[in-house]
């Protein structure tokens, strides 16, 4: 089974702090994604990456950056955390096109609270 592991289940940070959310997948997937989940809004894509050192903005990239130095690891960075970034953050991975019906495989999520 594909395993996507997010390093923290819960995080509490202060406004203005730099925050790192880490995600590791063990199935050699090319694609990796960061979504945030908010009630009534579903999941919204922040950034995604289709290869090492490659990244693309999603629908809500403002206030975030990402890093992908190794294929298995995709990090989400909040440069200066704000209260409106309090949310559930979900990491996901998938194969690059090769398996046409490959769904996203999600981690368990990190619930971030910014105070």
């Amino acid at each position: 089974d594909v395993k996507v592991t997010q390093s923290s289940r819960y995080l509490v940070k202060r406004t203005g702090e730099k925050v790192f959310l880490e995600c590791v997948q063990d199935m050699d997937h090319e694609n990796m994604f960061w979504y945030r989940q908010d009630p009534g809004l579903g999941l919204r894509l922040i950034y995604f990456s289709y290869d090492v050192k490659m990244k693309e903005k999603g629908d809500i990239p403002e206030g975030y950056s990402v890093s992908r130095e190794k294929k298995e690891r995709f990090s989400l960075i909040l440069e200066s955390a704000s209260t409106n970034q309090t949310s559930m953050y979900l990491c996901a991975s998938s194969l690059l096109g090769g398996s046409y019906n490959s769904p996203l495989h999600f981690g368990n999520g990190t619930r971030l609270t910014v105070t």
């Binding site: 694609n31 994604f33 979504y35 009534g40 809004l41 579903g42 999941l43 919204r44 894509l45 995604f48 289709y50 693309e56 999603g58 629908d59 979900l90 996901a92 998938s94 194969l95 690059l96 096109g97 046409y100 019906n101 490959s102 769904p103 996203l104 495989h105 999600f106 981690g107 368990n108 999520g109």
Partner: protein, 113 residues
């Protein structure tokens, strides 16, 4: 821009009843996915629908896709309490291969005895 809308957003059902969740998307999409999320847990893939007229069934859940109407449905037959969860549909913008999914808002399903 691809937009995905689900309805209803909240669904309270009695056990044994049938109901349908609707998922509309705004532009051409290559694929349609359904996911389930239990409280406090991550998303679990239920179905992948790849072509017009596709129908997939797993237990009491059946998903279908009408690409001409840009509509997918998730039909629940004879609901049981174990089906209580949040259900998401998601679509991929046509012509892309990176697997970038756009999600609906989610439907919170509660099944009562």
């Amino acid at each position: 821009e691809l937009k995905v809308e689900q309805n209803p957003l909240f669904l309270s059902m009695q056990e044994g009843k049938n109901y349908t969740i609707y998922c509309n998307y705004s532009t051409t999409s290559d694929r349609l996915y359904w996911y389930r999320q239990d409280p406090g847990k991550s998303l679990e893939s239920l179905f992948v629908l790849l072509s017009n007229g596709a129908v997939k069934q797993e237990g009491r859940l059946m998903a279908s896709l009408d690409t001409k109407a840009r509509l997918s449905t998730l039909h629940i037959t004879a609901a049981v309490h174990d089906l209580s969860a949040t259900y998401f549909c998601a679509a991929i913008l046509g012509g892309t291969s990176y697997g970038k999914l756009t999600f609906g808002q989610g439907t919170i399903l509660t099944v009562h005895p």
